[in-house]
């Protein structure tokens, strides 16, 4: 495509309004034509000026931050990302966990898990409070001897938050708290690893849910666990 032809199409290219083949031709020409690049930049600036500024929401930022932090953690640990379906544990262990009975030595059979994200706490706490006020949200507390150790908030859209209280005792650094979702089929699926001294965290869960469990595990999450249960929330 010659220069004059491209010049005719630059404004349409800036609007993303060319057909694919034409856009490719223009893109090729732009690599070698400074004049056309300059004209394109002017058109893009004009178009951007048409868009008014608007407030940006915290919830979307939480999602962006979560994805970035997930990537960082995966890169650092070289842990393979795990599909949710891979994280189900055997039904036998599930029923034990839902029932709340302690059965030392029962294997949970879980693969390595993604970490929950600890974004700046004030933002997450505010997001959790907002989420708790939405119609259809689940709000429930993990309790130990009648004292709340962590609050769970899960919206109908699947945005989840864990808000530990001061009553949740810090663990040694070689241990971590781990959060589980129990679905309607009584499968127990990890929602993530909270760390040894958890701060407010976010998670995502879009399936059905009948309860939650909080356990103590080895740092980084478990592949197989004896199931050191801290608390269970059932029939939410």
């Amino acid at each position: 495509m010659i220069h004059d032809q491209v010049e005719e199409l630059i404004s349409l290219y800036a609007l993303d309004a060319l057909e694919d083949g034409e856009a490719s031709d223009v893109r090729l020409h732009l690599e070698d034509c400074e004049a056309c690049r300059g004209e394109l930049d002017e058109h893009r600036a004009t178009i951007a000026a048409l868009i008014p500024d608007a407030p940006a929401g915290d919830l979307l930022w939480d999602r962006i931050s979560r994805e970035i932090n997930d990537e960082n953690r995966v890169d650092e640990s070289t842990v393979r990302p795990v599909e949710l379906a891979d994280r189900r544990i055997p039904l036998r262990a599930t029923r034990w966990l839902v029932g709340g009975a302690v059965a030392a030595g029962v294997a949970l059979g879980v693969v390595v898990l993604p970490q929950l994200i600890e974004s700046p706490a004030p933002s997450l706490v505010a997001s959790a409070e907002q989420a708790a006020s939405e119609d259809g949200s689940i709000v429930a507390d993990f309790t130990v001897d009648g004292t709340a150790v962590a609050r769970i908030v899960l919206t109908s859209e699947g945005r989840g938050y864990v808000l530990p209280t001061d009553a949740l005792e810090p663990l040694n650094q070689d241990r971590t708290y781990q959060l589980w979702v129990i679905n309607d089929d009584a499968d127990v699926i990890s929602a993530g690893v909270l760390g040894a001294d958890p701060a407010a965290s976010a998670f995502t869960w879009t399936g059905d849910v009948s309860g939650f469990a909080l356990t103590r595990e080895v740092a980084g999450g478990v592949v197989s666990s004896a199931g050191d249960v801290v608390a269970v929330i059932s029939e939410v």
Binding site: L15, I47, P52
Partner: protein
């Protein structure tokens, strides 16, 4: 013609970009606070689906975090760059089969998309409104359908029942008028 250089915020934005290159997430958050709303507005206009629009904005920011060097300050402001990436990504989604179907489900009648209303009801500054008013209605409709409708000029021509060459000409003329009217304008 409108300036392609960033305005007074250039040095601040240079510092933010430098911080992002160094892995400072608070700098990315600052950019999000400044421009995330505009990006979401563009994506929502094109996709007519808040969830898909959020996916697009998330995708743009995560990719920018991965590769902040893709931004060249000599070619314009960060805002222009992010809006451009957002629009392109949204258009890609519109033209993909899945998004197209979801979009069509929300638009049982093809005439539902009222271009004039789309432009006039937006919260625009005086300069932008004046610039848009300087366009002949066929020019404004062609540009709005292409940009906010995510349509190619061929699709715009089909939609308006006008020859393709005519639509191309309307868009070119309209864009020239806009550039002239918005010289030096910063939103």
């Amino acid at each position: 013609m409108i300036s392609t250089q960033a305005g007074d915020g250039t040095s601040d934005e240079d510092a933010l970009i430098t911080s992002i290159v160094q892995g400072d997430q608070t700098a990315l958050r600052a950019l999000y606070d400044k421009y995330g709303g505009a990006m979401q507005a563009v994506a929502t206009k094109v996709l007519r689906d808040v969830n898909l629009a959020e996916d697009v904005v998330q995708d743009v920011f995560v990719n920018f975090w991965r590769d902040p060097g893709s931004f060249d300050s000599k070619r314009g402001s960060v805002r222009t760059f992010l809006v451009m990436l957002t629009h392109r990504r949204a258009v890609d989604m519109v033209r993909s089969e899945v998004a197209r179907k979801r979009r069509e489900e929300r638009r049982p009648d093809r005439d539902y998309y009222d271009v004039a209303k789309e432009v006039e009801t937006r919260d625009l500054g005086t300069a932008v409104r004046s610039a848009l008013d300087s366009l002949a209605p066929p020019e404004r409709d062609a540009i709005a359908l292409a940009y906010f409708g995510g349509l190619s000029y061929v699709q715009v021509a089909h939609h308006l029942g006008a020859p393709e060459g005519t639509v191309k000409s309307r868009i070119r003329t309209g864009m020239k008028k806009l550039s002239t009217s918005l010289t030096g304008y910063q939103p």
